[in-house]
């Protein structure tokens, strides 16, 4: 085999080993050095002093799932660009045309996603809200920002 080839990767294996040891070492060190005085309250899930209600592991919006799916598809597209870019000096204008075709064919999909509102995470359409007029107090001038309803990523629908 071309022995020089894999030799480049041996340092990565070594580094992975060193770094893993380091990470486990840090965990162990604090485990050994730190005190351990557990109590029921201390071990409870953090809820700002309020008793936890329900299970944290609940179901969430399908939106996260959609983003992950769309990510896979575009990731595949981006990956195709790398070998193309590496040999672009051989392909030249032909390569440019190829890629324009490729992207041109995927682009309608992107526009479709956009139009379907896949990238809109806010339920409320804030663009139609009137601008809040600045509130003036005697001597003080301050601008009250739009009180915008917190964008809830776990709300079900997408439009």
């Amino acid at each position: 085999m071309s022995n020089g080839y894999f030799e480049n990767y041996i340092p990565i294996l070594l580094l992975a080993g060193v770094v893993t040891l380091l990470a486990v070492g840090m965990l162990l060190l604090s485990y050994l050095l730190g005190p351990r005085r557990p109590s029921k309250e201390k071990l409870a899930a953090y809820e700002c002093g309020v008793m936890p209600t329900g299970d944290a592991r609940q179901r969430f919006s399908v939106k996260f799932y959609l983003v992950a799916m769309v990510f896979i598809l575009f990731d595949v597209e981006v990956i195709f660009l790398y070998p193309w870019a590496v040999i672009f000096h051989e392909l030249r204008m032909l390569g440019f045309i190829q890629m324009i075709l490729f992207i041109g064919l995927v682009l309608p999909g992107f526009v479709y996603l956009w139009r379907q509102g896949i990238f809109d995470w806010s339920e409320t359409d804030t663009s139609e809200w009137p601008d809040t007029p600045p509130v003036t107090l005697p001597g003080v001038s301050l601008v009250v920002p739009n009180v915008v309803q917190e964008a809830t990523p776990f709300s079900g629908g997408s439009q």
Partner: protein, 344 residues
């Protein structure tokens, strides 16, 4: 492959990791100091001169704190998550060239290894970085953590696309994925004054890269996963002592890694004026590299000190509707210009 090779490599790795950990600890100090001065405060001053020993004190404090494992966590995953975060953060440095090829005993001392697919290696390692955060959020059995983890992973995968696309521009200019070749390709200058750095032809690409990299590292203004006002501390709410510190370490290591990659890809890596005696000539490139990375870290802190946090819907819209098309347009434009330059 022989024993000296292994030993030298191991030595190199230990030096790099040690230097990195120190640098990261001082990045925290640097950030606290700079942000403090931006807000007319002093920052850490008590421990040592200018608070310089503060990182050391923090490490000792964090290590001797109690490890709290809340009830109801998935213990194995809960413990593996911070390890995963640290490992993926540090692995990136395997391919970063800190200086020109300088051999000592047949081994390049300024880079751990020069891969032909260096850029893809960085992308693949950072794509694995999602798991540390997602699994931490999921295994903690806390609503804040779960929300933080989910938001963060959705954010990271969204911005990964823009990042991958913006780097293609550099690959088009270089024709190689090896980081060393990327730097070598940027040597020289235009008309003897303007350095031949990629940032000039690839300004849009650089902008896309840096913005998406800030989002990838979950820093302000994209730090929604740990938005204190709504999610307490996001995915690491339930982590304490050294386990929390490991996430912290991973975040700052990622910042440093992004700064290094940005320097290598867009700012000519170690290139800079080299003069003087031979010993100085060996050290100067390292110094230039270090200064450039420091400048990037300063920009990180500057942004943190200046911009408010995005809302989540704004963040997703910005990534998908603005950054991704922009990176794509930059790529198409670059390839067209290159095709014309190569002449059909």
């Amino acid at each position: 492959m022989d024993l000296p090779f292994l030993l030298y490599t191991l030595l190199k790795i230990v030096v790099v990791v040690f230097a990195l950990l120190t640098a990261v600890a001082y990045t925290v100090w640097f950030e606290r100091k700079v942000v403090a001065h931006m807000q007319s405060r002093w920052g850490p001053t008590r421990v040592g001169p200018y608070g310089l020993l503060q990182p050391l004190a923090d490490v000792i404090k964090l290590i001797t704190k109690e490890d709290i494992t809340p009830s109801g966590v998935f213990r194995l995953v809960y413990l593996a998550a911070p390890c995963l975060a640290v490992i993926t953060a540090l692995l990136v440095f395997a391919v970063i060239p800190f200086g020109p090829r300088t051999e000592m005993g047949g081994i390049d001392i300024f880079q751990i290894t020069d891969l032909d697919i260096g850029l893809l290696f960085i992308l693949s390692v950072s794509s694995m970085g999602v798991y540390g955060i997602a699994l931490a959020g999921w295994s903690s059995n806390s609503k804040y953590s779960l929300l933080g983890g989910l938001r963060s992973s959705a954010q990271m995968i969204s911005y990964e696309l823009a990042m991958g696309l913006s780097i293609v521009g550099v690959v088009l200019l270089t024709g190689s994925l090896s980081l060393r070749q990327v730097v070598d390709n940027q040597s020289g200058s235009w008309w003897g004054i303007i350095p031949h750095w990629n940032v000039i032809p690839q300004f849009i690409g650089f902008f896309c890269y840096f913005v998406s990299a800030i989002a990838e590292t979950n820093r302000l203004p994209f730090d929604l996963p740990e938005a204190e006002t709504e999610l307490v501390a996001g995915y690491h709410t339930e982590y304490s002592s050294m386990r929390f510190a490991m996430f912290f370490l991973a975040e700052y290591t990622n910042m440093t890694a992004v700064s290094c990659v940005a320097t290598v890809l867009y700012f000519g890596g170690w290139s800079g004026p080299v003069f003087g005696p031979e010993a100085l000539q060996t050290v100067l490139p390292l110094l230039w590299f270090f200064l450039k990375v420091l400048a990037f870290l300063f920009v990180y802190v500057w942004i943190r000190g200046t911009l408010p946090r995005f809302r989540y819907d704004q963040l997703m819209a910005f990534g998908w509707k603005f950054l991704l098309p922009l990176a794509l347009a930059n790529m198409v434009l670059t390839s067209f210009v290159q095709a014309v330059r190569y002449g059909g």
